[in-house]
């Protein structure tokens, strides 16, 4: 049952009184607007011989009288309004206005409600007004209640959707074994991305979990379950605009004026209904659970998945996902024509609403997920990126590229070692920062012939076959692979480097035999270790390692590949770019010269000024007055539009004054005639009651008669 809220101006700061206080303040604000209009008119010295003037004077007297009365007596508010989050079917509001008045009457006898009005029959005057919204459907009642509550400066609790949780995006493609080409799945590992034909993106998300602390009455449970049961759709927002979705702005006038008296306009950020910056996307994809059931194949797991295959390669896309309900209008090409932003009457901020096809059923839009970014790389055919990267790192770590360079090592301009610097110094220091635990891996020298350990019978292992080297290399290959997905333009140059002619000739020994024509062949051959090694003896593995370790050309080839990889990932190479200003940094004296020139031009212009200025300033004053008046009329039109938004059919029962106490109220309701709300027992009714009681309620009678 709805409770009464009391208002006593002499007991400030009591939370329970706030709702009624704000209602009264809203009504007083309306009266104050009229007062402000009168003041503005007198400011312009307009001859205002209109009958509206005595009306305004009377209104001002009423405001004063109303506050005087409030000091002596109390005002009570009764808000019998639906809460869609707790009663989504509006079951409590069925039964038409008869049910409403029964609830109202019962509230007058609710002994558990300390704020209910209790006028004493015979010694106190009291009165009340009932404003009833009556409808034949849930949506009709919701629309009316929204208007009614907005009039009182309040909001109805709408179904609010929180942001979806665990939103992720993956490239999606056809798995190598799949047939038919329609079986598109998300690729969950970076390594796999380079091995399949990519077709689009897979977006995944889950319902948000309840983050609120539990309460003993399980109210949070009821609220969250009901909001999840309200049939919600999903909106996927997508854009490929460089830099991500653009925050929406609109031109708005400020309180500042330019020299001619015109207000200075500036672009202000438009916000959504939740107060977040509104970001506009290029394309909107609506997912309706009732018509797109295939998309929800994972629904039973609480997970949603959507595959977007209408994307271009080598383009970065930005996505967001959000829940919504209501008939959102989306064009056939996936765009949305947004209406002009509205000014929020409370915050004075520009608010962007979502277009709806049914004004009685507005779109309720939930909060969005964070922005997800993904790019579909254009992967060159016949180039196994991850394997090549992995083998490059394995070879580099085996040859000691992670070890620091000796202090006396010297090289010529081509990178060749000079002055007795050994070949094994080439490439050292290039992977120092990313070697991690590899700094303990030292290159080995193998005796010829290689002999098995007398105890284990195993032959010595080569560093590229160490588990730690393979793990570190695989990890780095994944990191670089991820980076390549972002910078896929680098894939083709990388393939050219690896598959093009080898820059420097390498020894034609061991596994390098027949595999010495490209860097790709070189790194693959270096890591070509047969299964069973080192238990099984393979002289080629040792020969390959020894040849590579001591060969300057092999090391320089590998260093070229390592430096290429490092150039776009793993920290880049010095020097960094800096921003400079042409005048300040390149030609420092020119700035002062230009400022001097501007000053001289200004001085010249001043010299030509004459008495004509005085006439001009008078004309400017008139122009300024015209501008101000034009703006004022524009403001009046905005007020009229605002007032029109309150137009809706409500049923009023005004019982201005009775000395009969609560029995008198009951009798008044029961005997009331006139145009009663028509919906009947099958309809839905809700509304607001405002009541007063005291020894003298004349001010309320006058004010309520005027307001309602």
């Amino acid at each position: 049952m709805s409770d009464w809220k009391a208002l006593e101006i002499k007991i400030p700061g009591k939370d329970e009184l706030e709702s009624v206080r704000s209602v009264l303040e809203t009504l007083v604000t309306f009266l104050e607007i009229i007062k402000a209009l009168l003041n503005t008119i007198s400011l312009f010295l307009i001859d205002f011989g209109n009958p509206i003037r005595p009306l305004v004077v009377a209104l001002l007297a009423i405001i004063q009288q109303l506050f005087e009365s409030l000091k002596r007596t109390g005002l009570y508010g009764y808000f019998d309004i639906p809460d869609p989050t707790r009663d989504p079917n509006f079951d409590l509001y069925k039964g038409g206005y008869q049910a409403f008045t029964e609830r109202f009457k019962a509230s007058l006898f609710d002994s558990k409600d300390p704020y209910r009005p209790q006028p004493i029959a015979g010694s106190m005057q009291s009165g009340f007004v009932l404003i009833v919204a009556d409808a034949t459907s849930v949506f009709g009642l919701l629309r009316l209640m929204k208007i009614l509550l907005r009039f009182f400066g309040k909001e109805i609790t709408a179904a609010k959707y929180v942001a979806p949780a665990n939103a992720r995006i993956f490239p999606a493609g056809t798995k190598p074994g799949a047939t038919g080409g329609t079986n598109i799945d998300p690729i969950l590992q970076v390594a796999s991305v380079f091995g399949v034909t990519l077709k689009g993106f897979a977006l995944e998300w889950t319902l948000a979990t309840n983050q609120y602390p539990p309460d003993p009455g399980f109210n949070d449970l009821v609220a969250s379950v009901s909001s999840e049961l309200v049939p919600q759709s999903w909106l996927i927002e997508r854009t490929s605009r460089s830099g991500g979705p653009l925050p929406m702005t609109a031109s708005a006038e400020t309180n500042f004026e330019d020299k001619t008296g015109k207000p200075i306009s500036r672009e202000v950020v438009v916000r959504d209904e939740q107060g977040d910056v509104f970001r506009k996307f290029e394309r909107y994809i609506v997912i309706d659970p009732s018509s797109s059931t295939s998309i929800f194949s994972l629904l039973q797991l609480g997970k949603f998945r959507y595959i977007d295959s209408e994307v271009d390669k080598d383009t970065t896309y930005y996505y967001r996902i959000r829940a919504f309900s209501g008939p959102l209008v989306v064009n056939s090409d996936g765009t949305i024509d947004f209406p002009a932003p509205e000014v929020d009457a409370t915050t004075q901020e520009l608010i962007q609403r979502w277009p709806t096809s049914d004004p009685n059923n507005p779109v309720v839009m939930g909060r969005p997920s964070p922005i997800l970014t993904c790019r579909l790389p254009n992967i060159p055919a016949d180039f196994n990126v991850i394997t090549v990267l992995e083998d490059t790192f394995r070879m580099a770590f085996s040859l000691g590229f992670q070890l620091p360079l000796e202090a006396d090592a010297q090289f010529d301009s081509n990178g060749l070692p000079i002055n007795g610097t050994p070949a094994s110094q080439v490439g050292r220091g290039s992977l120092t920062n990313i070697g991690g635990a590899m700094s303990r891996i030292l290159p080995l020298s193998f005796p010829v012939p290689v002999e098995a350990d007398p105890t284990t019978k195993d032959f010595p292992d080569v560093p590229q076959n160490y588990l730690s080297v393979k793990l570190q290399s695989a990890q780095l290959a994944q990191t670089v692979g991820s980076s390549l997905l972002e910078n896929s333009a680098m894939l083709s140059p990388m393939r050219d480097l690896y598959q093009g002619a080898i820059p420097r000739q390498i020894p034609n020994e061991g596994n390098f035999k027949g595999n010495n024509t490209s860097i790709q062949a070189m790194v693959l051959a270096f890591n070509d270790i047969p299964s069973g090694f080192p238990t099984t003896y393979d002289p080629d593995v040792y020969t390959t390692y020894t040849a590579a370790y001591s060969d300057v050309n092999t090391r320089l080839n590998l260093l070229a590949a390592v430096n290429f990889i490092k150039s776009f990932t793993l920290g880049g190479t010095p020097v960094d770019w800096v921003s400079i200003s042409l005048l300040r940094d390149i030609i420092p004296w020119s700035g002062q010269f230009i400022y001097d020139l501007l000053n001289r031009i200004d001085a010249l212009a001043d010299a030509f000024k004459s008495a004509v200025d005085e006439i001009k300033s008078y004309i400017d004053a008139v122009v300024r007055k015209i501008d101000v008046l034009e703006r004022f009329i524009k403001y009046l039109i905005e007020i009229l539009n605002f007032l029109d938004s309150f137009s809706a059919g409500f049923y009023f029962l005004n019982v201005p004054s009775t000395s009969g106490g609560i029995p008198g109220w009951i009798k008044a309701i029961d005997s009331a005639g006139g145009t009663k709300p028509p919906s009947g027992p099958g309809g839905y009714s809700a509304g607001v009651g405002l009541a007063y009681a005291g020894t003298n309620v004349d001010a309320f009678v006058t004010a309520f008669g005027l307001i309602f």
């Binding site: 008119i41 509206i52 009039f151 004309i619 015209i626 029962l653 309602f708």
Partner: protein, 53 residues
Amino acid sequence: MSDEKQDPPPEWKYKEEFGIVTQLKAAVKATAVASEQELSNLRRKLERLTYGS
């Protein structure tokens, strides 16, 4: 016979607009008309100042 005045029973009324909204609209419209009139006076004055009478 009682001297107490018997009030007529109250009546439900259907309204498309709140009373205060009607009053406000009337005030705003009247202000707009007066402002338009003042505006046209000013424009005439400006024309005379700029181009002469």
